[in-house]
């Protein structure tokens, strides 16, 4: 007598738990299985985002930034702080408290929406059956009308830098250091590498980031990437491009990172190494071969535009399928699938998904980069505005960076917005909304923005597209 549900979701990360709640909102009986276990053995919902990714990193980024600003900037405000002390244990405890609150919060949301939350492992069997094995229990068979796979991703391992979970760690490990390493090596200058590197550098570590690509932040608009690189260099972040790590050696003196670049072979010795070279979709132990769900050569579960897999009534969302590995992308896919299962019309707009990097200055963008427009042969016009000219940014003492607009030269439609600067992640929201409505630059130009705010920089950049910025000299 197995339990039957309308929908069984495997994975309670941002894609899975959102899909489960949305399905329940439609009145569908829903179960959500999650296998996450913290290092201390406790089972929690929330997946990577909540427990080892987005949330804990934001907490540490916030704490470390405050520490850094207290050291370096407070005196500009006439605030003397004397000898600053760092209590890393408290900082980590605060982070863990936030994570606990939020993952507990998911449990509360599940209860409120009548979602059956199940800690343990889920495995998809043929005909929408799921084998659920609780952490310390016997396997149970669940029957479902629909199954949503949302098992997310795991950090990619580097054979040249295998984890030993002490000296050489992944991003999760890097969030939990109990002391600030004197010298920190980071392999990979992507979003995660930059954020983690920033955290420890602010707390006092000498950070060296080694990146195999020649171009810094290749997926971002080049002008914005250059600006960001300039800012990080000013902060003392040592970023080495075109550098491929060949091997690592753990010695008493520290970890020796051996890498090659244009000039030849190099070695640096650090106390800890963080490997942040990307993530791969995780399907280990998930799919029974007879279940009929195909996986592509990169390990993604194959889905169509509506996130249907190759098996009937089996769907997949989030990091485990194609597309940018972003929590909000996974969440919206989860909502789309829940709506489709409930018989509604739903779709994802993959063209207007914001990307955000939470360094300081923050970097955020949505839409096309200038390089993408050039290679597509699209006629475009551009406008920029520097935060150095923003009253609010100056008052906040964060006047570095710029806002950049790319618009069609023919229809004036906004094609891309790129921001490097304070609160970029928040400011990009306006651009995302505008682009969802296919707004023209003129629409934004004619919209009132409050003063004095950072959003004015967005306004001025839009004006600058047509050479009519007020607070900058138009060229």
């Amino acid at each position: 007598m197995s339990r039957k549900f309308d929908v069984v979701v495997i994975g309670a990360g941002p894609a899975g738990y959102v899909a489960a709640i949305r399905a329940a909102q439609h009145g569908l009986s829903t179960a959500c299985i999650d296998a996450w276990k913290n290092p201390d053995g406790s089972a929690v919902f929330g997946g990577t985002c909540l427990n080892a990714g987005c949330i804990p990193s934001k907490a540490l980024l916030e704490s470390s930034e405050l520490y850094h600003r207290a050291q370096v900037e407070f005196k500009n405000h006439g605030i003397g702080v004397g000898e600053l002390a760092l209590d890393l244990a408290t900082m980590q405890a605060r982070k863990e408290g936030i994570v606990r609150d939020l993952s507990g919060g998911i449990g509360v949301l599940f209860k409120a929406n009548d979602v059956t939350g199940l800690f343990g492992h889920g495995r998809l069997l043929p005909e929408q059956k799921v084998q659920y094995t609780p952490h310390d229990g016997e396997p149970e068979l669940l029957e479902a009308e629909h199954v949503i796979l949302a098992t997310g991703s795991t950090p990619i391992e580097l054979p040249s830098a295998p984890y030993d979970c002490e000296r050489i760690v992944d991003s999760q490990g890097a969030l939990s250091f109990d002391s600030v390493p004197e010298r920190l090596g980071v392999i990979g200058a992507g979003v995660i590498g930059l954020e983690l590197g920033s955290v420890w550098q602010r707390l006092g570590a000498k950070v060296t980031i080694v990146e195999a690509m020649d171009q810094f932040l290749f997926m971002a608009d080049a002008q914005i990437a250059r600006e960001a690189q300039r800012q990080f260099k000013k902060q003392g972040l040592d970023i080495r491009l075109g550098a491929k790590v060949q091997a690592t050696e753990i010695t008493d003196a520290g970890v020796i990172m051996k890498y090659d670049d244009e000039q030849g072979g190099h070695e640096i010795t650090v106390d800890k190494v963080v490997v942040a070279v990307g993530r791969r979709p995780s399907t280990d132990g998930l799919l029974d071969p007879l279940a009929g769900v195909d996986v592509d050569e990169r390990g993604h579960i194959e889905v169509d535009l509506e996130c249907r897999t190759t098996a009937l009534n089996v769907w997949a969302v989030g990091d485990v399928v194609r597309g940018p590995m972003l929590a909000h992308k996974g969440s919206e896919e989860g909502v789309m699938v829940a709506d489709l299962i409930a018989g509604e019309i739903a779709e994802m707009n993959y063209d207007v998904i914001p990307s955000i990097i939470y360094t300081s200055p923050e970097i955020a963008w949505v839409g096309k980069t200038e390089e993408e427009l050039k290679s597509a042969g699209v006629e475009y016009k551009t406008g920029t505005f520097n935060f150095a000219a923003s009253g609010r940014a100056k008052a906040m003492d964060q006047a570095a960076g710029l806002v950049k607009f790319l618009s069609s030269a023919v229809t004036d439609e906004i094609l891309g917005v790129h921001i490097c600067g304070p609160m970029a992640g928040e400011l990009i929201g306006e651009a995302v909304l505008a682009m969802e409505f296919q707004a023209s630059t003129e629409d934004l130009q004619r919209t009132i923005h409050g003063h004095p705010t950072l959003t004015e920089a967005v306004h001025e950049a839009a004006l600058s597209v047509d050479n009519r910025a007020i607070h900058a000299i138009n060229r």
Partner: protein, 410 residues
């Protein structure tokens, strides 16, 4: 294994059609369902889609020729074609499909006025355009800046853009500083319209009588129930459904207005097929709402909206246009204050709606500003006498000024 492309079966009343122009040449590849050629009849323009993907081997009939049902037009060599979008040919600015579709649509009660972005508002005011004339391609049918820009561009060069019509190189703008002449043969549709207009004028004893309507109550009803209506029926509540209902009430009371003359007989119709005049790129067409008296407000709104879309896309069919016992035309969207519409034979009456203007009116001895519309009834005096025509319009006026009358049929 070649495929033949033939002229589709033309409806009964249509004997032949004119081949306007080919969109493809021999040797060019086509996608299945891509429009190959336009055929023009008295009433409507027909598209001939490619039955399969392939390459055009031969074209049998030239531009401008007359064709009949089933005639062989072209021969296709079927084959897989690279999935290039049919509009790819029109590079850059105006996509051909959108340009063909963006014909001004009149007589549709427009709700576009409510969701205009700042740039669109500015452009509409600058160019003095009624948003009802523009098809919106944005989210939820919203008008985008690019939609207005395209409309303006097409307005300046009416026939210059995508549809190559070598038979009629129309340029309406007067050539300043020259004293030359411009001879352009009429399109078949235009010639037919001209014929029927003259016929109407010479056959019927046409007179026009006027009145004015205070639309305060109708607008109040709309404002109050707009959202509920949309929520319940999934259709926007416009003005047309009110006007159609008021018209039907008046037609019931004065059946001569719903009748037509055939030889020496007066034919009274027991049904109400109301034609709604629509302006399309090719000329005036009047699609008919069948049994409009049996339709709910929502049905009326949806049907009219549907015709508006079809007119824009150029897909109004023959069947849509035949019949009709009475016609409503709306010059208001173009800004007309008052006009004398011409009859649509063999009908005996036509109601003209006009622009709504805020005017000072005397109401219970006080001056109030009211939204007023002049209405006109052109009628065939051979079977409708003056008093009837006047009372017909008064009925419409009273029904609209106090919609409760429609409910109670008083």
């Amino acid at each position: 294994m070649t495929v033949e492309v033939k002229v589709p079966l033309l409806p009964e009343s249509v004997t032949d059609a004119t081949l306007v122009s080919w969109h493809k040449a021999p040797g060019q590849s086509v996608q299945r369902d891509e429009n190959l050629v336009d055929l023009e009849t008295d009433k409507v323009v027909l598209e001939v889609p490619a039955p399969v993907s392939g390459v055009i081997k031969e074209i049998q009939v030239d531009n401008g020729a007359t064709v009949t049902s089933g005639q062989l037009l072209a021969i296709l060599e079927p084959g897989e074609v690279q999935a290039a979008r049919p509009e790819a040919a029109a590079a850059g600015a105006a996509p051909a499909a959108a340009a063909a579709a963006a014909a001004p649509v009149a007589a549709m009660s427009s709700e576009n006025a409510e969701k205009l972005s700042p740039a669109v508002r500015r452009l509409l005011e600058e160019h003095d355009i009624d948003p009802a004339q523009i098809g919106g391609t944005g989210k939820g049918g919203r008008i985008l800046k690019s939609d207005v820009l395209e409309f303006v561009e097409k307005r300046v060069q009416p026939e210059a853009a995508p549809e190559e019509i070598p038979v009629e190189p129309v340029v309406h703008a007067p050539i300043v500083g020259q004293r030359g002449e411009h001879r352009v043969p009429m399109t078949r549709l235009r010639a037919r319209i001209a014929e029927r207009l003259v016929e109407a004028q010479q056959t019927a004893a046409m007179l026009t009588t006027f009145n004015e309507v205070d639309l305060t109550e109708v607008m109040a009803l709309r404002a109050r129930y707009k959202d509920a209506f949309e929520k319940k029926h999934g259709a926007k509540l416009g003005f047309m459904s009110f006007f159609v209902n008021a018209t039907i009430e008046a037609l019931r009371r004065y059946p001569a207005v719903n009748a037509s003359i055939e030889g020496a007989d007066i034919v009274y119709h027991d049904y109400f097929d109301i034609g709604i005049a629509v302006s399309s790129e090719r000329g005036l067409v009047v699609p008919v709402i069948r049994d409009a008296d049996r339709m709910s407000f929502a049905d009326l709104e949806n049907t009219i909206r549907g015709y508006g879309l079809k007119a824009r896309e150029g897909t109004i069919s023959m069947d849509d246009l035949t019949g009709g016992t009475f016609t409503i035309t709306n010059g208001g969207v173009f800004g007309s204050m008052m006009s004398t519409p011409i009859l649509n034979p063999p009908q005996s009456g036509i109601l003209g709606m006009h622009a709504i203007q805020q005017r000072p009116m005397a109401v219970d001895g006080e001056i109030e500003i009211r939204p007023m519309m002049y209405i006109a009834l052109t009628y065939d005096h051979r079977i409708i006498d003056g008093a009837e025509a006047v009372r017909f319009l008064v009925t419409i006026k009273e029904s609209l000024e106090d919609p409760g009358r429609l409910l109670l049929q008083v």
